[in-house]
Amino acid sequence: MKRSELAFGGADRNRAWREALESAAGLPAAPGPVRALFQEEREDLRVVAGLDGVFDVVHTRLAGLSAVGTDPSRESFVSDPVPDDAAAVVLGLQLPQRGRGEAREPGPAPALDPSGAREAVEVLLAQARRAWGGGPLRAGARWVSFLQSVRVVGAGIPLCEDERRGARIRLEIRGPMGQSAVVEKALRPGEAVDAERMCSAAVGRAREREGAVRASPGEVVAVFASGAGGVLLHELIGHALEADTVESGESLLAPAGRRVGPPGLTVLDDPALGRAPWRWDDEGVEARRVCLVEEGRVAGLVHDRGTAGRAGVEPNGHGRRSSFQQRVRPRIGCTFLAPGRLDPAEVLEGLSRGIHVRRIETASVDTGRGLATFRVTDGDSIVNGRVETPLLPFLIEVPTLAALSMLDRVAADLAFDTCVGSCLRDGQPLATSVGAPTFRTGLVRVVP
């Protein structure tokens, strides 16, 4: 058995589930073997203080079981299962829900702490107002955390357990003169919110942005600040090298070995480094670091069991689903650009005109045509090698191959999670991370 030590769920309940799942996986299923069972228990907490002053605290539990059973083309799921349901779900039966609740053992007690999260949000808001130093200020904050236990077992798949958790906090402030700033922080287990530091950064940046101007449209050289450029790599390279995208002929970057960038360009995906890391994926495969682009050439894909099997390669632990109600897909987890050797200031040197991208809020990519758009909510103009005037939010369009081929300066200051978001693919959200050092690329287009 492969097991992360599960603190979540309770010893007796965990034991009952292990026995039931292993027993169901061993059912003499005719005509084919049971491919896999997936069982999860998840707790989510969201504390939101809106800019309009409205508070929301949402604390929920999600539990479910799914299985690909005797018919490999059919997957069944049921919510709030009891261990005895495992065998029935393997057989492809939908189970009656209503009334079974009385018979089940109590689930784990709520483990996340809404009072603590709310206090963190309120402290952050109070600190932001203090740091602002009086005068009108609109401030909002959001805390999001989750805790999830997952079990996977199946034919040829030993029982595997994984426990995942993640927490993040975001502060947004808006002053009366158009000043605005957002600061986010992904919190590692046990890490406290440094309200003073977050608020100092937010207030300082908001004041700098008071005179923000519009970005000039057109093609321009862009320097991505440490951390922020990870979003670019996530879209341009990560999504294009998810194996099902390549399989369906929708990736401009395929096939392996293709040169897509200069020799110094190396991009990796490592779920263990993410803000919501996983050790085992949702198919019981150990998550491995995948080198997507090595020294400028396409080197690997992220696979689930299905795409790996069809490609005749080993899966690499990137099969994820947003819940038991969704099918597994290959997903990138924490995509990052390997650091170079330059000082960040050297990346700017000699650049007569360009843009400096500090923050990206949303992005999308057409992996087939190789064209992505990014909503840049914080950036500056660059003039003669210096970061100068803050810019109002703008949109950039980035052609994949041109941008990668012109990615020519990479600093050593690799940072993760300065832009924290969830990746939405096929309607399935996933808590992902991105990382990058400061780097520059020669071709983005500010639109319109």
Partner: protein
């Protein structure tokens, strides 16, 4: 292809309204949390998805049930806490109550739509008891739709074309102290198709309450039209006809900007902007006679072609995206009225659109090409000059004719 199971062995588990169960849970909740006013919301859904992927010779099926319960506990001044759990038995209820109790309360009676309704304890019914869609009918529709998509692309093989259709039934029961008791059931059908690189702005989704409302021809027409859409540089500013999905996308964003929560009525609008929010739309996938906080819901006029006359506030507009969300003010089906005028000749036509909101008052619209055009929503809504042609249900939650916009 492996063993094929007999169709739908799950007839015994199709959700049926059983209000007495939720009512009995309310009694239990009253014993456990006597200090609070209590509201319980119970949702039970069954659904089946049939998908076709480029790599799979046959269809893939994904089916199951989900059930959950949500609790709001209110204090004497109307502030409340929220918790929700999968399942609907006593352990799930107790988990949700414990989660709600561990939070500090939010809101208050002054928030109106975030409170819950009252009643005399007798159930208000809003039931849609049609038969659940058979898998064979779903598969047939999906194959016709994907074949139509292939034809629309002008191709001879499916290639990267993929898609899915999903059908299901949801039963929801809301009970609360103060006598509120409502019950709703809904059948729904969703479908989505993608032709990969042929469609830069994403997959095409449609939704309705019954499969007969999902027209394969209309779906395919969207794809055909998209390839004929104005390309890069052909439309940069000035009059443009937004058809199908492009109209739907603009309507969805403009409605949120001009009629969303907190919007003040009175803003001037163009004569083509006559919009209502209609939770009673018989083919709407959301909405109903009562909102998800138990208040009566009804059609609300948002604009009359001269000015904004309504906004998303007040009771009757609170909906829950899932049992794990507390009720919030949301549109149901946005219906654009009109559609009788003639389309102007030689005007660029755009069939697909994506709105990027750079700020609340500054957008960039992305059309195929791609073409990017900037706009201010409050200006744009005044430039909705007219609407024409039949109304189309091309995006979930929007029913609109083509719109002529002087961009």
């Amino acid at each position: 292809m492996g063993h094929v199971q007999a169709p739908r062995e799950d007839r015994g588990v199709i959700p049926q309204p059983e209000p007495e169960r939720t009512a009995s849970l309310l009694s239990l909740a009253e014993q456990v949390a006597p200090e609070a006013r209590i509201e319980l919301y119970h949702r039970w859904t069954t659904r089946t998805r049939i998908a076709r992927e480029a790599w799979s010779a046959g269809p893939l099926r994904f089916a199951g049930c989900e059930e959950g319960i949500a609790v709001r506990l209110a204090d004497p001044v109307g502030r409340w806490t929220f918790g929700a759990s999968s399942g609907a038995g006593a352990p799930s209820l107790l988990w949700a109550i414990e989660a709600a109790r561990s939070s500090e309360p939010v809101g208050g009676e002054e928030e109106g739509p975030r409170a819950w309704g009252a009643g005399d304890g007798s159930f208000q019914l809003d039931l849609d008891e049609g038969p659940l869609l058979e898998e064979a009918a779903m598969e047939e529709w999906l194959d016709l739709a994907l074949d139509a998509l292939v034809r629309a692309r002008g191709g001879v093989e499916r290639g990267p074309v993929s898609g899915w259709i999903e059908a299901g039934r949801t039963v929801e029961v809301l009970v609360g102290q103060g006598g509120i008791a409502t019950m709703r059931s809904r059948n729904r059908v969703w479908a989505m198709g993608s032709a990969g690189r042929e469609r830069p702005l994403g997959a095409l989704a449609v939704a309705a309450r019954r499969i007969s409302s999902l027209s394969v021809d209309a779906w395919a027409e969207q794809w055909t039209a998209s390839t004929a859409s104005a390309g890069r540089g052909e439309w940069t500013r000035g009059p443009v006809v937004l058809e199908g999905r492009a109209a739907g996308e603009l309507v969805r964003h403009l409605a949120a900007a001009v009629h969303g929560r907190g919007a003040a009525p009175g803003a001037p609008v163009g004569s083509g902007w006559r919009v209502v929010d209609d939770p009673l739309d018989p083919d709407g996938v959301s909405g109903g006679r009562f909102d998800d906080a138990g208040f009566p819901a009804g059609r609300r006029a948002l604009s009359d072609g001269h000015r904004a006359v309504g906004a998303l506030e007040g009771r009757g507009h609170s909906w829950r995206p899932s049992f794990r969300d507390p009720p919030e003010a949301l549109f149901t089906t946005l219906l654009v009225l009109g559609g009788s005028e003639e389309a102007p000749p030689r005007t660029p036509r755009v069939h697909d659109l994506r709105i990027h909101r750079l700020a609340s008052d500054r957008w960039v619209a992305e059309a195929p090409g791609p073409t990017y055009v900037e706009a201010r929503p409050l200006d744009l809504v005044q430039r909705c000059v007219s609407s024409f042609g039949p109304v189309r249900r091309v995006l979930p939650g929007v029913v609109s004719p083509a719109l002529l916009v002087d961009w």
